[in-house]
């Protein structure tokens, strides 16, 4: 049974078409947006779509979501707490 970490990192890579990135490249405490993984606003939207589709999490407010997306760790915590 895959851990949530492996599963979620894999889904991020797939949903965002991240080339040459493997799950081990996604560091838990580095920023996801801007620096670190370097995601942008289009990625934020597609991340939200993936969370909705695969974890049943509905995000109404993108600004609030940005806080949850600060790093991989905050994102995983967010998913753990809110998944359906």
């Amino acid at each position: 049974m895959q851990s949530l970490t492996d599963e979620l990192k894999g889904k991020i890579i797939q949903a965002l078409n991240l080339d040459k990135i493997t799950p081990t490249d996604i560091k838990d405490d580095e920023p996801l947006f801007g620096a670190g993984l370097g995601l942008d606003s289009l990625d934020a939207l597609d991340l939200v779509s993936m969370l909705e589709r695969d974890y049943g999490i509905l995000i109404q407010d993108m600004d609030a979501a940005r806080q949850a997306f600060a790093s991989y760790r905050t994102l995983e915590d967010f998913v753990q707490r809110n998944r359906v």
């Binding site: 949903a15 965002l16 078409n17 080339d19 370097g38 289009l42 939207l45 597609d46």
Partner: protein
Amino acid sequence: MSQFAILAASFISAEGCGNDRTRLRRWPETVAAALQRGEVEALSWSTLFRSETSRFGRMDLLSRLGLMAVELLDAGFETWEPAQRDAVGVCVETCSGCTAADAQFLQTPLAATFAYTLPSTVLGEICIRHRFRGPILCLLPKPGQGGSLEAALGWLNRGEADACVCVACDLMDKKFAASMLSPQDAPGGGWQSGAVLIGRQTGASRKYPLRPDWLPRLARSLVASGIRSAA
């Protein structure tokens, strides 16, 4: 005599790729077969270039083709001053447009996919990568009609740009073309991408009369034969 000259040319198709200095190089066997079948996704940035690129994987295939053609020019844009890049005009012409990306969006409606459902997104990607902020144009001509070379010359002659990058890129799935268009209208299907860099240059040795349908053919012929120097 015109004071403007073609400084570099590049070309990519199932035949091969290259610029006016490397000439047209055939693909390795492994890649060639896939490309002959129209699998443009077989072209990976890292097999062609040592430079880094941002988010190539999420770009649609048309944008990848256009961006690669500009990279193949090997013009050293990364050494150009910001003021120089501010004065680079970019003109894209595409007969196929982005129908391939459109079909992809209908399949998977994602934000990143939607961003590529405009024929001009390739122009945006080129400008973002190279920080070009000059005048812009994106034309959808009929096959053989061209237009970007004329537009670029106009910018240069009127002093609206100091250099221009003209790119012709096309991507049309043969089956899709056949399903949508009658044989006389279909642009044939297939894919290719060619680019030229035009800038200020004196003392050039040869002149090419400008014909509007020439960008893909011009790019290919310059790559195949090279551009002769004055010396």
